[in-house]
């Protein structure tokens, strides 16, 4: 599904990603862990095409297509979705109008007619239930005055509405209370199919418990320094990152500048 090769990127002239290699196949869930500032969010943003981040090398192929050549909206139509670490507030643009625009743009891309008003409302109703988001949020501005947890819940709600094939969750678990985390994780699991995949950034074991990822990768200073199965995640929860940093330093010495 997704093949990332030697991906390098910078933000405001500062190199952040220094050669990412990662392959994610259909149906797989990969968890990305790593210390603060190691480049996890940067990788997420680069994959969905945030113009703030400049790709300086490498490639990303999504279902055979050159992902990096596509504008963000086309990546979305191709099936990419990102749950933002800090979802943006868009005052005055109601959730309903926002999602109608998103849903119908996607349908237009596929050569389908816009969704009828009642079908659309039905879709929203159904997906709201999945993540437990109250109806009144639909008439509010996008994330306008939403609490931190409500915003995260709203991200997964949007994911449910847009039905992506590849989801990127950037710390969706942070800011959720225990019950909300369960609802959101269960909602996410309900949306999983053998043809959908995900890359999930998290700092917490609880997310590993819910998602049972196929792989866990550790990102440090813009590189994946270690990959393994879920047990790697639990080891990090227990021991932190230092041991990985030490091992990485001996196994793969930094290239000389």
């Amino acid at each position: 599904m997704l093949e990332i090769r030697n991906l390098c990127a910078e933000v405001e002239g500062k190199p952040i990603l220094r050669g990412i290699d990662l392959t994610i196949r259909d149906g797989e869930v990969h968890v990305l862990m790593g210390p603060n500032g190691s480049g996890k969010s940067t990788l997420c943003h680069v994959l969905v095409g945030n113009p703030k981040y400049a790709v300086t090398g490498g490639s990303a192929t999504f279902n055979g297509k050159d992902l990096l050549a596509l504008p963000p909206e086309h990546r979305s139509y191709e099936g990419l979705f990102m749950s933002f670490q800090t979802p943006t507030e868009i005052p005055g643009v109601s959730m309903t109008n926002f999602l109608r625009a998103a849903v119908n743009a996607r349908r237009k891309y596929r050569g389908e007619e816009p969704l009828g008003a009642s079908e659309f409302l039905q879709l929203l109703r159904e997906k709201r239930k999945l993540v437990g988001l109250d109806a009144h949020f639909m008439s509010r501005g996008v994330n306008e005055g939403f609490s931190g947890g409500e915003r995260k819940r709203n991200e997964i709600f949007q994911m449910a509405v847009l039905a992506p094939t590849f989801s990127i969750l950037d710390e969706t678990d942070s800011g959720l209370d225990v019950d909300a985390l369960r609802t959101v994780a269960e909602g996410f699991n309900a949306l999983r199919t053998p043809r959908t995949s995900a890359m999930v950034v998290t700092h917490y074991q609880r997310m590993l418990d819910y998602l049972r990822p196929d792989f866990v990768h550790v990102l440090m200073e813009g590189r994946i320094v270690r990959s393994g199965d879920a047990s790697l995640g639990y080891a990090i929860e227990e021991r932190g990152f230092d041991w990985i940093r030490d091992e990485a330093a001996t196994a793969q010495p930094e290239p000389q500048p």
Binding site: N50, P72, E73, T88, E89, I90, G92, F98, L99, A101
Partner: protein
Amino acid sequence: MTDPLKQYLDLYRAEHSRIAAGSCPAMNAHRDAALRQLEAHGLPTRRTEEYKYTAVRDALAPDYGLNIARLPLAADPHKLYHCSLPNIGARTCYIINDTVGPVPTAGSEDAIRVVPFAKADEEMRGFIGKYYHSTVQSYDALASLNTLLAQEGLLVLIPKGHRAVQPLQLVCFADAKADLMANRRLLVVAEEGAEATLLICEHASSSAHYLTTQVTELVLGERARVELCSVEETGSNCTRFHNIYADLAAGAALKLNSVTLTCGHSRQTTEVRLAAPEASVEANGAVTAAAEEHADHNILVRHDAGDCRSTLRYKYVLDGNATGAFAGKVYVAPGAQRSHSEQTNANLCVSPTAHAFSQPMLEIYADDVKCNHGSTVGKLDETALFYMRQRGIPEAEARLLLQHAFVNDVLRHIQPESLRQRLSLLVEKRFRGELRRCDGCRMYGGTATNAPTPPEP
């Protein structure tokens, strides 16, 4: 360069008897004073503080014709002109250039009197004379020019205690075959306890250049409530100077809504005098301008008595090479204690070549007041744009949603709901470049939707 004012003064001196003959005594009574003022003070220059952003001399320089002979309308304007805000009002009156069309008779519920000045001056002895020009407190060259040359006017009288249910709509069209100057005058008198909503739609279907001076005077008696909404949808060959003067008695409430959808060169000068305690004014302005459009609002609110309240909200979305100017001044007179004023002006420049000038001011001579003001000039929120694009909303659509939301934040204060919805839709159409084009206008469309749309079938 000769003074562009000269041709107007010369015209008046040569034609004053014909001008007077086509007008009514109440209007004629003020012409000589206006002439003397213009002779004494002249036109503003770029150095005149109040006209810093609008070049009056350039606007008045061309040679325009006037309808001094008062040629009547060729046909019934109700059949000839299409307003983009249909069926909002219970009654619709047309003003073509500066000629008032037939006034429809009122329904039994509707006690509002809509009378051309000439008729009012005959039927209601002394009424026009009592109020005409009564609200114009300070010298303004455009108002004086209007007083000098205007020949027709319309009186809207909301009698004591009458509460109008449906709005009164004035549909104004600029329609000139040759370059024309039109000078229009409106007088709105809301007597004690009267309530009404007025909608003024300003359209253009002019193939020639059109210069208009417009003076709207509002006199609100005690506890009168008036909501005046003026919508501008003109074109690049229109130069419009609209001066609004309002005097409010105790407990009166005025709401002034102004929506500029499209314009050429537009300047609105507003002076509101809160003359007695507990009067209040709320002014909501929304401007969408693109291409070479120029929209300038200059507003002065005088708190001459204590316990009054003023709220000013103006929002501009500027695209292309458009210029938006806002200067708001709230003046609190000595002793006007417990004055309450809020003033905001926010500008969204969606193209790098658009210009916004913002100047909110306070001049306070009382100590127990609560007044604040704020102004912002910004660009579209890139983070929000990206968030929307990630969800699949095309960039052009995302920009449109953000701009529309920005303007809706002002429109939400406009009543009635049917008008608000209609205005919001027109703003959206305008951003999409789908607004019905005025014939002969060279405009339009924002940067996102630059392709010209075909004329409506």
